[in-house]
């Protein structure tokens, strides 16, 4: 740029961007793969001018001269609309490892310019904070010489959990004797794949997850369940026997429910459960959002909307005006649709109002559980401000809810399903075990299975996070066949199976030393400790340094 050129307030240098492209002129073969693969066109072919100094023979009479030449290479664009997202796909495709996206060590200036046209930043991903209370927890109550610890590899372990309202023992027996109705209960694996919609995820990703789940159930006997998210369910799946592994979600946009209702008479199996989404951890108080980029014909057909329009679900259900009546009615209607054979539970964002919801549900005989999603939950699309600043951490919210159930003598009667941040730094089994010991009956994961199952590039360091615009370079959250064909559903299924089998081994490695194998240690808070007094007091667990 000439020094006298006009600059605008949003004119940035490469150094002002959060990610800088380092490109090596010496090894680059100019093959062009990096510029082709870049999902945001952050790099382009550049023609550079360079002055060459020609130094003549030493001792001769001729003076040095210079001339100008050109060479070609990669230029990083500095327009905020094309800022590098750090996905490093350029590095992945480079045959010579000549290019890399490096995170700037100083604060970027880009963040001040991401509201062009008055449109604040929207993105997919997560909260972008690496800290995790769950990671700090230790499992301390280990049976040492007093009693033999169990053998994680050889002993029998019963790790299933119950999804659905469990009646108190005396009531359950009375109902059995009277041949009366008992709320439906499913025995499932405690690690559930949380709600990610068909639409938020690419068809290949969805298919891969479903195949993985089917394999886990039918070949390995692991009752893993997956929630659809708000986007309906492909018609063939609705009419297949695999529906029993699926939790159908209904949210405020009711997307896809026309299709589901019509498929009801033809369903061979009941779904595992119905989740009514009232909120999600990543953007509490905000509705679902599928941006127009991703609403292609297929998505539009399944959701029952015109293609190419953004689909923001309202923040709240339009019919809802009070928890006492409207929520109860909704739970009852959904139960009724399947003849009261299917558990129906609401999902809310973790919030300081969670207890009020819980208390209400304890008195609703048709409510089958409560899913609580903490602030570390992920999303396919949301405003940056919602993701970064709204929400409540899961640990204390879950603990409060569990202890409240204890006070009522109803622990595990109404299972708590916890999500939002389990495995955010890769420690899935430890995080899940901690949540279970704090009181969760089920743990939901989303981002983890995208990272581990499909190679999602997102991190807590604001890497990639463009799930919202359908340009996912791995084809996980894209609706463009040119992108999602990169993802082989079979391979995703394999990875899902690997993740679950590995998880089971790790969880046994945690439970065996604690002497627990006969049942999932829900609420076994005496096992937990943390080196932070305030956290220990808040969660009513041990403080240990």
């Amino acid at each position: 740029m000439p020094t006298d050129a006009a600059i605008t307030p949003s004119t940035l240098s490469q150094r002002d961007l959060p990610w800088q492209i380092h490109w090596d002129v010496k090894t680059c073969t100019l093959c062009g793969r990096c510029t082709a693969v870049c999902p945001v066109n952050a790099i382009e072919l550049g023609t550079f001018r360079k002055r060459n100094i020609v130094v003549p023979f030493v001792g001769g009479r001729e003076k040095p001269t210079s001339n100008f030449g050109v060479y070609h290479g990669i230029r990083q664009r500095t327009d905020p609309g094309y800022a590098c997202i750090g996905c490093s796909m350029c590095n992945l495709v480079c045959p010579n490892n000549s290019i890399a996206a490096i995170k700037s060590e100083s604060m970027d200036m880009l963040r001040f310019h991401r509201d062009r046209g008055g449109q604040p930043r929207t993105r997919g991903g997560r909260r972008n904070r690496g800290d995790s209370v769950l990671d700090q927890m230790k499992f301390m109550r280990i049976s040492m010489l007093t009693d033999p610890a169990l053998d994680a590899g050889r002993h029998e372990f019963e790790l299933r959990t119950l999804l659905g309202r469990v009646l108190p023992p005396a009531k359950a027996l009375a109902s059995w004797k009277a041949n009366g109705w008992t709320p439906p209960v499913r025995e499932i694996h405690p690690l559930m794949i949380g709600s990610m919609s068909f639409g938020a995820l690419s068809p290949n990703m969805w298919e891969g997850l479903q195949m993985g789940v089917a394999y886990l159930n039918e070949e390995l006997g692991m009752p893993v369940r997956i929630c659809t998210g708000e986007g309906g369910c492909p018609p063939r799946l609705l009419r297949s026997r695999f529906l029993k592994y699926v939790i159908l979600q209904i949210a405020s946009g009711y997307f896809g429910w026309d299709e589901i209702i019509h498929a009801l008479p033809e369903m061979k199996e009941d779904p595992c459960a119905v989740e009514i989404k009232y909120g999600q951890g990543a953007k509490p108080g905000d509705g679902g959002l599928l941006q127009w980029h991703k609403v292609n014909k297929l998505i539009a057909a399944i959701r029952g909307v015109p293609p190419g329009v953004s689909l923001p679900s309202p923040p709240t259900h339009q019919t809802k005006y009070s928890i006492e009546e409207a929520v109860a009615k909704m739970i009852q209607s959904m139960s009724m649709a399947w003849g009261f054979r299917v558990p129906v539970y609401p999902k809310i964002s973790a919030s300081s109002t969670s207890l009020a919801v819980l208390n209400n549900l304890t008195r609703n005989p048709y409510a089958s559980g409560l899913a609580i999603d903490g602030e570390d939950g992920g999303t396919g699309a949301a405003y940056n401000v919602s993701m970064d600043h709204m929400g409540h951490p899961i640990a204390s919210n879950l603990r409060d809810c569990y202890l409240n159930l204890v006070k009522l003598g109803q622990q595990n009667e109404l299972p708590l399903i916890a999500g939002g941040g389990a495995g955010k730094n890769g420690n899935l089994a430890a995080n899940a075990a901690a949540l279970i010991m704090l009181g969760a009956s089920v743990v939901q994961i989303g981002k983890y299975i995208m990272q581990a199952g499909a190679g999602c590039l997102g991190t807590e360091g604001d890497r990639c996070n463009i799930c919202n615009i359908g340009r996912c370079p791995k084809g996980i959250t894209s609706q463009d066949p040119r992108l999602y064909r990169r993802l082989d559903p079979e391979k995703v299924a394999e990875r899902v199976v690997d993740v679950y089998v590995g998880f089971d081994t790790e969880i046994r490695k945690i439970l065996a030393p604690l002497g627990r194998s006969t049942s999932l240690p829900i609420g076994m808070s005496d096992a937990l400790g943390i080196a932070d007094k305030a956290v220990a007091d808040r969660l009513a667990i041990k403080y240990a340094v």
Binding site: D147, K171, G409, M524
Partner: protein, 376 residues
């Protein structure tokens, strides 16, 4: 580990017999305490069948406060037995003022109450006395129930038994539970000594219940009088048994299905699968974990032994018609019933409940995979 010994007989036996068996198994406990549960009493107590007996340890002040309280409630003291100590207490045993076993005659309005209410009232009185005692540390109350005596003390079982003079002829019972304690997780506290007792249900355990905290939290919020004040992780076994019998109206055969339910593959093949599946789900909060051998006595004086899901603790039952014993180790059996047919000794495994009814005719083995008695 702790060591357990219990016997059930058609004739009356001195508790010292059980303590001798504990002494045979001395290598397995550290002598940090002894606990005794006696029922089907003979001797002077047999004249007061049906009248509640208070067992506990008191200071003189505590005794007076107890008497005043009981008088206030209209309970008249009848037969009283205090254990007279001989010589100095054995090492580790504190000197106490009064070891009391006292029969009370309830007031007339009590007698007109329904049985359930009577039972609740007796438990309420015991708890009230316990709370009074904890306040001023002047009384410890173990049981208040007809035809039941409970004795607990810190120290080596044999030495303590001799010190307390437990071989006296007034103490004679047909069902006896005895535990020699190995102190592990929780403090040496008299309330932490087995056997635990609630409303005719008594049990003792050799083991460690790793699911203690969630189970305790669940039981203590069920609104049942007496599910409180847990000092030992084994106390919940007694309360789960009580819950099974009294709150759920099930028999001893269901107990094992509650504390260590069958896994799904076994359940599917079970003739009572629908019921058991329901039971497993409803009682999941009562599933125990860890290595445990439980011996207990029911209100109808039936004695039983169950093991944890993995059978990690020793336990053997044997005897002859008229006298059967449950013991942690075979040497305990040998000490008390040397003349039995040893080939009939049985070590209950992970699916078994060994049951001896008060007629003491045989050991009945109830496997979890067998059909349950009819539910009614």
């Amino acid at each position: 580990m702790c060591r357990l010994f219990s016997l059930t007989s058609t004739s009356c036996i001195s508790p010292m017999k059980a303590i001798e068996a504990l002494d045979m198994m001395k290598e397995g406990h550290d002598g940090s305490g002894v606990g005794l549960f006696l029922s089907s009493l003979e001797g002077p107590f047999s004249r007061y069948k049906g009248l509640p007996i208070l067992s506990g340890i008191f200071t003189r002040d505590g005794f007076k406060r107890m008497e005043e309280y009981m008088a206030e409630l209209g309970f008249t003291p009848r037969f009283q037995l205090t254990l007279d100590t001989t010589g100095n207490p054995p090492p580790g045993t504190p000197r106490r003022e009064i070891y009391l076993i006292q029969v009370f005659d309830p007031p007339e309005d009590f007698k007109s109450l329904e049985q359930v209410l009577q039972e609740r009232k007796l438990t309420g009185i015991r708890l009230h006395l316990r709370h009074m005692g904890q306040e001023k540390e002047d009384m410890v109350v173990f049981s208040f129930w007809p035809d039941v005596i409970t004795i607990k003390e810190v120290g080596d079982p044999l030495e303590t038994g001799q010190y307390l003079g437990l071989d006296r002829e007034e103490l004679c019972a047909r069902q006896i539970l005895a535990q020699g304690r190995q102190n592990t997780n929780y403090g040496i506290n008299l309330y932490a000594c087995h056997p635990f007792f609630i409303q005719g249900v008594s049990s003792m355990t050799n083991g460690e219940n790793t699911a203690f905290v969630p189970i305790k939290e669940y039981l203590s919020t069920q609104g049942v009088v007496g599910y409180e004040g847990y000092q030992s992780d084994s106390e919940v076994f007694t309360h789960i048994l009580h819950f099974t019998l009294k709150e759920m109206g099930l028999g001893i055969e269901a107990y094992k299905h509650i504390i260590t339910p069958l896994q799904d593959s076994d359940l599917e093949a079970h003739p009572d699968r629908e019921f058991l599946q329901r039971l497993k789900q409803a009682c999941r909060r009562l599933i125990i974990d860890g290595p445990n051998c439980v011996i207990g006595c029911l209100p109808d004086k039936t004695m039983f032994m169950v093991q944890d899901r993995k059978k990690l603790r020793p336990g053997i039952v044997g005897g002859r018609p008229g006298l059967y014993a449950f013991s942690s180790e075979a040497c305990g059996l040998d000490a008390v019933i040397p003349d039995r047919d040893k080939s009939l000794d049985f070590q209950p495994m992970h699916l078994d409940t060994a049951i001896v009814s008060p007629e003491c005719k045989e050991v009945r083995i109830c496997r979890q995979t067998q059909p349950l008695p009819l539910q009614h």
